[in-house]
Amino acid sequence: MDVQYLNLLQDKSKKRLLYLIEFITPKFSKEELPNVLEEIKGKVSKSKTGLVDFSKNRGTVTDLSKLSLDQLKLMYQVFISREVNDKIAVKWRLYQFLKYSRSINVKNIQVNITGDSKQAVDLIVETAEKEIIFFSCFDVLELKDYKNALTEVIKFSKEQKKTPDRVIIATNKSYRNIPIDQPFKLDKKEIIPELWVELIEENCPFNGVDMLIVENTELNLAGFNFTNMEDILDFIYNNSEGGQVAIVKQPGFFSEYKSDESEKQLIWKGIMLKKNI
């Protein structure tokens, strides 16, 4: 990431932040955004807690201009500069990722909104193959957190009367001593937990301040939405018709400083074969 931290951002005006936040993809719906903001601020009203599925209203457009400067700042810190890496930030970034990721064939996502930053299960995904997946999010995964999380997942599973087929621990950073190859028992079922990290690709051909243009489509994407090449390719796969795809970057497009390197550069060219072609 080459996006300035908020404190270093010279122009912290509402107009500037709003301009950047409008480039966050996938877009949040009217129903999603208030929940995102409340959770990352740590102020969730009791009436809004529980397992919520936002997928039905995903198409609705949100008017970001009504957000306060504080709210815009939070959005910036979580989704653009990613300087906030706590559990809730990881949770909502993961939620965004699952909307387009090809690693899981998502049918629906239930978000567990509790207002408790220590909750065990943050997201429940049902896949097209009818698998139930529990996601538990962390900022930095330590051994004791991991052990505790598995105990809490078992407890949650019993309370909700839902037995997952897979349990995925998603984290921003992880210690190396996590025994993820060891199975644990959940309702007589042996599950080997999986570990997902928010992978930032070294030598990534683009960075956060670049504009990424997918040629022959209407997709103009901000680099800060993606952390590696596979990530952006998944997004384009889900949001384009496929076929011959070329991605060019406009370096430093979102930078506060004018750069001489404004010439477009090709960063990926290939053919995307979609299943229905």
């Binding site: 989704f79 970034r93 993961l94 965004q96 990722f97 990721s101 690693s103 930095v140 998603a170 921003n172 950073k173 992880s174 210690y175 190396r176 001593n177 996590i178 025994p179 993820i180 190859d181 199975p183 042996e190 080997i192 999986e194 570990l195 997902w196 990290v197 928010e198 992978l199 930032i200 690709e201 070294e202 939405n225 993606f226 952390t227 590696n228 596979e230 990530d231």
Partner: protein, 675 residues
């Protein structure tokens, strides 16, 4: 917002900002409190507040092997982590000198200056290990795959070292296989934390483990995990997995990859060695000068060294001399002596005396360093690729043109053999062996044998023919052997067939004997992947088993092998003739009885009779043909009968009329009958 799944192995070795701690080990800030406590005890008993400079040298070797043991790729790197675990003292002028760089990319000639370490900070020196091929193999591993059925000759010795073997499964049959994995510590030290993961194809069933280490093995998701706490030098362990598989399609069944990780404690396998480490921290040194009471201008001096930091300090040398350094009062080399000054302790040197009117002045030089603790470890990660089993199977069909021949009569019998390759790999050799019993004789020219596949006819000079014995004595049994010549690279390709048509002769088959014509097909498959030549051997020798797997199919059961029925057929026929008076005195009815008294059906019977030209044919019960024979003044009447079944009879009746008006005797008509 890219998230990515990380495997357990990746978590241990992958580098990047997402992972806390250096690959495989936790050093620096990650040292747990209890570990630190243990180290304090190890250093010295009286230093409850002692800090430590902790050096950890970790090396990681990453090997990828092909299944036959050939190295596909390898990489190795090392990391030396220097950690100041003091919460208050910094160290400075830190220098490190490493040697033994035969296997690594460090510069061994010079000391490295690492400068200042603030409290609770660490610094890493990374290096690549070169010349990996020269490193010793610490843990020797091997996997052999045995085929427990005996239908495949030469197959049970699969897995011999260093050979690129082909692995086979028989199509449509239950294959019993045994995977044997063995591990042997060939290193001089104990190897610990051995984890082995073996993938097993989901096509296998009835899986069983045969080992004495059952309790450390578990199966999940078609994965076998085997944990071995440690292996002493020379110690060997073995594990066998028995399983069954029955391929019913040309599916890809894999042998299963293997992952192995282990640790060699207290060794950096590349040979990198810490020659010297030195760093300064807070210490005070002074010269205590006391003018002797009873002897003015005479001074009793000593050097005082006080450790004012939280690290133990080792004194290496002390030199005290006069200003010009011409007279040395103290010159002690302590490098080989373990003089450790604990935190807060004071070292007092021997005393010396000097005479000086004024307070004496000295030049002094002290060499000292904080002590350090060094730990070494090598972690090895091995991945062994798997192979795909080749499927082998033949469908054999034999057809014989004659289903039935007569006993003691010569006949030509045509044979059609068809061998379909149902497997995924071409046949490299084929031997067709047919036994021709006595009373029959094979044809002995190769040109009389025709060969064909999906591309068309194959020249017969691609095959050798051998008839054993080579005589033409029908009283002996003969064996036909057809073998392809070496020039045929693939005898039957995958999805192809071989058709052979030829004939043999029945000389005098005896209906009292039971003749069988069994067929034996031996198919030959390359044992090794890079095998090109057929090798010089005879198929019937055991020598062939060194280079080929040989599968034998025998067509001998009645339902598979066609047979020839020898029937004893002899004709026996009786033809009778009766003459009756007709409706008027000049008419006669003649009845011919044709009786088949044999056990064979009689076909195409032609019956002729003669009668004088003085008679005229009036009618007959079956179609007839009358021809005049003027020479003998007779008419010939001919009847055709299609067939008479065994023991059946046919009656032919016709009427004649005397046209001369003269009286005639019956006997005149009797004498003309011919059939």
């Amino acid at each position: 917002m890219g998230f990515k799944e990380i495997s357990h192995a990746e978590l241990k070795i992958k580098q990047g900002p997402n992972f806390v701690g250096i690959p495989l080990k936790h050093v620096g800030q990650l040292i747990k409190e209890e570990e630190v406590d243990i180290k304090k005890v190890e250093v010295v008993t009286s230093i409850d507040q002692a800090s430590e400079i902790h050096l950890e040298n970790d090396e990681v070797l990453n090997y990828q092997y092909l299944h036959d043991g050939e190295i596909k790729s390898m990489e190795g790197y090392g990391n030396i982590s220097i950690y100041n675990n003091s919460s208050k003292d910094r160290i400075w002028d830190t220098q490190i000198h490493l040697s033994g760089t035969q296997y690594n990319s460090l510069d061994s000639e010079t000391k490295m200056n690492l400068g200042i370490f603030e409290p609770k900070t660490s610094r890493n020196i990374k290096y690549n290990i070169t010349n990996l091929e020269e490193l010793p193999v610490a843990l020797k591993f091997s996997e052999s795959i045995e085929f427990l059925s005996d239908e495949f000759d030469g197959f049970t010795d699969m897995g011999s070292e260093g050979s690129k073997q082909n692995y086979f499964l028989m199509f449509g049959k239950e294959n019993n296989l045994k995977f044997t994995i063995s591990l042997e510590n060939r290193f001089a030290s104990r190897i610990t934390n051995i984890n082995l993961k073996k993938l097993i194809s989901k096509s296998f069933y009835d899986l069983r483990i045969d080992t004495e280490y059952n309790k450390n093995i578990k199966f999940s998701r078609n994965t076998l995990d085997w944990v071995i706490q440690s292996l002493d030098p020379g110690q060997k362990v073995e594990l066998s997995i028995l399983g069954k598989v029955k391929p019913m399609t040309k599916e890809n069944i894999r042998t299963g990859s293997l992952d192995l990780t282990y640790t060699i404690k207290d060794h950096a396998i590349s040979g990198v060695n810490l020659e010297d480490f030195s760093a300064y921290s807070h210490a005070m040194h002074a010269i205590d000068k006391v003018e002797i009471d009873e002897s003015p201008d005479n001074w009793r001096c000593s050097l005082i060294f006080k450790n004012r930091c939280s690290f133990p300090i080792k004194l290496n040398s002390i030199m005290v001399a006069d200003k010009s350094q011409s007279t040395k009062f103290l010159d002690i080399d302590l490098k080989d002596k373990e003089i450790i000054i604990l935190p807060g302790d004071i070292y007092n040197s021997e005393k010396w005396e000097v005479t000086d009117e004024n307070e004496p002045k000295f030049s002094r030089k002290l060499e000292y360093s904080v002590t350090q603790k060094l730990q070494k470890n090598t972690d090895v990660v091995v991945h062994v690729n798997d192979e795909v089993f080749n499927i082998v199977g033949l469908q054999i069909r034999k057809e014989i043109s004659e289903k039935e021949i007569k006993s003691f009569e010569g006949a030509k019998i045509n044979v059609l053999l068809r061998v379909d390759n149902m497997g995924t790999i071409p046949l490299k050799g084929i031997l067709l062996k047919e036994i021709i019993p006595e009373d029959f004789l094979p044809v002995n020219k190769i040109t009389d044998y025709n060969f064909k596949n999906s591309s068309g006819d194959i020249k017969s000079d691609n095959f050798d023919l051998k008839i054993i014995p080579s005589d033409e004595d029908p009283s002996k049994q003969h064996v036909i052997e057809l073998v392809n010549k070496e020039k045929m690279k693939n005898v039957i390709g995958s999805d192809d067939f071989l058709e052979v048509s030829y004939s043999f002769n029945a000389v005098s088959p005896d209906n009292k004997k039971d003749y069988k014509f069994p067929l034996e097909v031996k198919s030959f498959y390359h044992k090794f992947k890079d095998q090109t030549a057929m090798h010089d051997f005879k198929y019937e020798d055991q020598a062939g088993l060194r280079v080929f797997y040989v599968k034998e199919d025998v067509l001998s059961k009645e339902e598979e092998a066609p047979s020839v029925k020898i029937s004893h057929k002899r004709r026996k026929v009786s033809i009778g003739k009766e003459i009756f008076p007709g409706r008027s005195h000049d008419e006669f009815a003649i009845v011919v009885h044709v009786k088949n008294k044999s056990n064979v059906k009689l076909d195409n019977l032609e019956i002729t009779d003669n009668f004088p030209q003085s008679f005229q044919l009036i009618s007959s019960n079956i179609e007839n043909k009358v021809t005049k024979n003027d020479k003998e003044s007779t008419n010939t009447i001919m009847f055709n009968v299609d067939s008479i079944l065994p023991y059946d009879e046919k009656e032919i009746m016709y009427y004649l009329k005397n046209i001369t008006g003269k009286e005639i005797q019956f006997s005149e008509l009797e004498s003309f009958f011919y059939s």
